[in-house]
């Protein structure tokens, strides 16, 4: 076993550890949200989905921004590790957006009476989902590693710049065509208990993202090291 694959395995192990930590944190968040956070006066219990949805959408968005930035850095520095990082982060982001898009409606149906709503968060996450999917599909369709890295970087950068435009367009679209707002955004002065839970949740999701990326990165390194072993 080469030193490269040893280092890769260590990364995977560490990544899994971070994920475990994140999952524990997630459990803590649920306990906190359901047991120790005040119920919102007007929306009631269903409002607590807020603590799951906002951070999940945030993770997907963070992931995509990282993909874009890693892409830009790759085009500048041409370091293949940046490409692997982008690939890993994109996959993690895809997972997060899928989780968010599936649990949202599952939770939403009994509570809101509808499977889907075009609220800003869901819409943005749906679009990120398609961008992640497209990113992955393009990578899968390109054989040459240098080409794959360059092309993915360009897609990542363009996608990252697209996000604010879509967000703006959708927002304007919605303000002109108000739809039943099932989830009010946080009120101007969020009570400390709610803010605390929200921040913890955001932190946990970020840790989870970090863990996923690390694990996937390690697996990627292992695969590439294995490939080199076979060839050398």
């Amino acid at each position: 076993m080469t030193s490269e694959s040893l280092a890769a395995r260590r990364t995977v192990a560490r990544g899994l550890g971070v994920i475990a930590l994140g999952l524990a944190g997630l459990a803590a968040v649920y306990v906190l949200a359901l047991g120790h956070t005040p119920v919102e006066r007007f929306q009631g219990l269903p409002q607590k989905i807020f603590y799951v949805h906002v951070p999940a959408a945030w993770s997907a968005l963070l992931a995509f921004s990282l993909v874009g930035i890693a892409g830009a850095l790759y085009l500048w520095l041409r370091d293949p590790r940046l490409d692997l990082f982008a690939e890993s982060t994109a996959e993690a982001g895809l997972v997060f957006s899928v989780v968010m898009l599936t649990t949202g409606p599952l939770w939403g149906k009994p509570v809101w009476g509808t499977w889907w709503t075009w609220d800003a968060r869901l819409t943005l996450t749906l679009m990120l989902f398609f961008l992640f999917l497209g990113y992955r599909a393009l990578r899968g369709a390109l054989q040459d590693p240098s080409e794959r890295a360059r092309f993915s970087a360009v897609v990542g950068i363009l996608g990252m710049v697209l996000v604010p435009f879509v967000h703006l367009s959708v927002y304007l679209f919605r303000t002109l065509h108000p739809q039943p707002i099932v989830l009010k955004p946080s009120s101007p002065s969020l009570p400390w208990e709610m803010l605390r839970t929200l921040l913890l949740s955001v932190g946990v999701y970020t840790v989870l993202l970090f863990g996923f990326v690390m694990t996937r990165y390690g697996l990627g390194r292992l695969e590439r090291a294995g490939g080199a072993d076979d060839a050398g």
Binding site: G134, L138, V154, V155, L158, V161, L162, L168, L172, F173
Partner: protein
């Protein structure tokens, strides 16, 4: 700067000349646009949804999809006999090559739209008086942006096996702002709404164009640089 434009125009002229010879792509795209418009007419509950209500959406979805279809040929023609290498060998900047491709694609897509618009008026019984100028400007503005992105993606997907599928998959998210803006503006123009309601959307379209044309111009060389 002079060289940049000279090369871009030469490339664009070459693309358009090739297209004029074979004609297949242009005619297919126009036929596609006509078919989409036709389908829209029937793909509605006539009792609940009038043609007027559906009109702006129908127009812009037709523009968007026909545009994407038309973009595929852009780099497909460079695959034959390694023509792309012939372009890259020349002592010209990659940016100029991109701009030439972009201009050709823009001309191409705008031509398809120019054919689709009268058909739209015909099929949907729309009264364009007063709105025609605004719709034309909006169409140019919206198209200018997404053709830039489409040109970049066409350059990428032509190297993949399922280019005809990959290109729409990648480009469609980028069509959201131009299409949303296009529909909003068209609906308001047809309803005779005041300019103040439209200005905001026009600004978004213009910003989109500026940002993405510049970005695509800057990123294209990295695609070509092995």
């Amino acid at each position: 700067m002079g060289d940049f434009l000279r090369v871009a125009i030469a490339v664009a002229a070459k693309d358009l000349r090739v297209e004029r010879r074979s004609k297949t792509a242009l005619v297919s795209a126009m036929a596609f646009a006509a078919l989409v418009l036709m389908i829209f007419n029937f793909a509605r509950d006539a009792a609940a949804l009038s043609r007027e209500m559906l009109a702006p959406s129908a127009l812009w979805i037709t523009f968007a999809f026909s545009g994407v279809i038309a973009l595929n040929r852009s780099f497909a023609l460079e695959r034959e006999h390694g023509a792309l290498d012939g372009l890259l060998l020349a002592p010209v900047s990659r940016g100029a090559l991109f701009f030439g491709k972009y201009l050709a694609n823009l001309t191409f897509v705008l031509t398809v739209e120019a054919v689709a618009l009268p058909l739209f008026v015909l099929f949907f019984g729309v009264d364009l008086s007063g709105a025609l100028g605004g719709i034309v400007v909006t169409a140019i503005l919206a198209t200018a942006g997404f053709v830039a992105v489409g040109t970049v993606f066409a350059a990428m997907t032509v190297r993949t096996r399922f280019a005809e599928l990959m290109l729409p998959l990648l480009v469609l998210p980028f069509l959201l702002p131009p299409v949303i803006g296009g529909v909003q503006i068209t609906a308001r123009l047809l309803a005779g709404r005041p300019m103040s309601e439209i200005a905001g959307w026009l600004r978004i379209l213009a910003l989109y164009d500026l940002v993405f044309v510049t970005l695509c111009l800057l990123l294209f060389p990295s695609l070509m640089d092995e």
